[in-house]
Symmetry: C2
Subunit: 102 residues, 2 copies
DNA sequence: CTCATAGTTCAGGAAAATAGAACTATTGAA
DNA sequence: TTCAATAGTTCTATTTTCCTGAACTATGAG
């Protein structure tokens, strides 16, 4: 977690798909697996792309993926990132939740 | 400013050069022109690239560029972004100021 | 073992970033 | 006005990164 870079976090969340994935996971929604998100997207995004997006989020230190049987469960690492960059994730999630325009 | 998107802000600041430029400008340092930043970089970054970086920051709504004679003076739009995304810029700048490693 | 589900890796084509060269804009001097 | 200098932008070709279908790996059920 010491290696987590601000640059990587901002890059990871600058993509709308990754931002949406992270917001879901951080929000504690039930959609925590790749395939669950894939079905939410109604297959607009191929699974290889989703896999890459999850990888970017993992490498940025934003999520952790643990295998449970045949699937991976993703959980956010908000608390750890919070220690390193206080207020950052909260501010970004708050900005994301904001209605984007009238 | 209504059109400013979170995605664009995160993308703009996910590049180390742009982050450095923005931090300087937001910090009210004297380095506010392209060429001033170019000399700080000791010409490691060509001016066409710097021009593009400033353009990305402008289009993200993070800075404003006004011509004064032969040069452009760049000022941050922190206050305006703050209205739209409260706490966001402050959190990012704070994270950027943090020493990046033990 | 075989099949099904979940996800990763590979490879190529598409899209975006980089930077040298040429161009535009403004000012000051001759 | 014309020339030169400074400050940035635009153009274009190259490099880099991203996207995604196909093939592959991993786990569990029958």
């Amino acid at each position: 977690m010491d290696e987590v870079r601000l640059e990587a976090i901002l890059h990871a969340l600058s993509d709308p798909v990754r931002m949406a994935i992270f917001a879901e996971i951080a929000g504690g929604k039930c959609v925590q697996t790749c395939s669950a998100f894939a079905s939410v997207c109604e297959r607009l995004i191929p699974k290889s792309s989703l896999s890459q997006h999850f990888k970017v989020l993992r490498e940025a230190g934003l999520i952790r993926s643990e295998r449970h049987g045949v699937e991976l469960r993703n959980t956010s690492r908000c608390a750890e990132v919070e220690k390193r960059f206080p207020g950052l994730i909260a501010a970004i999630l708050k900005a994301h939740a904001r209605p984007s325009r009238v």
